[in-house]
Amino acid sequence: MVTVPMRAGLFCLLTSLNIPSELLALGNPGLKHSSSPISRPRPPSNSNKCSQHVIFDKGGLDISSPPTIISRRLALIRPALLWPTYCSLLSTSPAARALTPKESSSQYDKYAATYDRLDGGGASKLLGIDDARTELIRRARGNVLEIGVGTGELTLSLSLLHAIYPSETFEMQTTNSPLP
């Protein structure tokens, strides 16, 4: 009841920005309209840490299978609950936090080498990220340092995904196998 207008609003915004609606699917078939009320990608029973599959641990991603009533109510009041955070983020307060360096290290170790759908291809091309990268990086010259080599637009993609489906939890199967 509440998330529907939220989603509709975002769809309208993205449409007004000429961002194709396919962006919202982000390459995940489970996000597209389907006649089946249940479209839940599951990890293979013999899944291992080297699997390349992206796993959604709550599969209600199908638009025809909206979140529960409880989730909708939470979504309704969330903007109010987040107001203090909203203010702090706007002021770029030092209290604004993302991940600590230690958290970043351990968590991004887990995210490494794990996607083939929420990758740098579909979403980044739709948003123009790939072209932006090309345009900017070609300017590099001389002795070059690139920091944060591992982080990327996947964070943006997942953030948008969660914004659209606030009651869902998105996880990726992980691996952290070192080079031989």
Binding site: Y86, A98, L127, L136, I147, V149, G150, L158, H162
Partner: protein, 171 residues
Amino acid sequence: MIFFSGLNLDKYEGSQLSSLTLLDISEGMLNEAKRRVAGLENLQGVPVTIITADATKDLVDRFGNQSFDTVVDSFSLCVMGSEGAIQCLEQMSQIVKSTGQVLLLENSRSDNSLLGIYQDATAETAAMVGGKGCVYNQNVGALIRRTGCLAVQEERSYAAGLFRAYVCVRS
């Protein structure tokens, strides 16, 4: 398949590079980048060094002042939070040469007011649950200005400001 890490690597003009140093706090991500480097023709002949370090505090100690002609970051500042991002920008401003450049491609708060408000309302939850720690509504221009040691030479907005490219120099 396109790997998550090292997405900039095939964009470099190898003929313009004297060396390329890749740094991340995550060894797992660097392993992926290392795999990718090995298969890229554009980086053949370019000395590539891979280092695990914290970009918010280790850069100056590790490399010294004015060590690089170009410092690149894409989509990392949002993961560091405001304080960490400023620290990182300050580090970058010190290790880049006075004649050098800092190239940034970052998530940012949209120019579209409605989309910006939506980002603000969802940023924290999205970061903690779906966005892997990325606060995607940062005002990156304000963060750069707050460092006081970098000046934006060029800025370009993409996707209504959902992300932006900056070319910065030492001020």
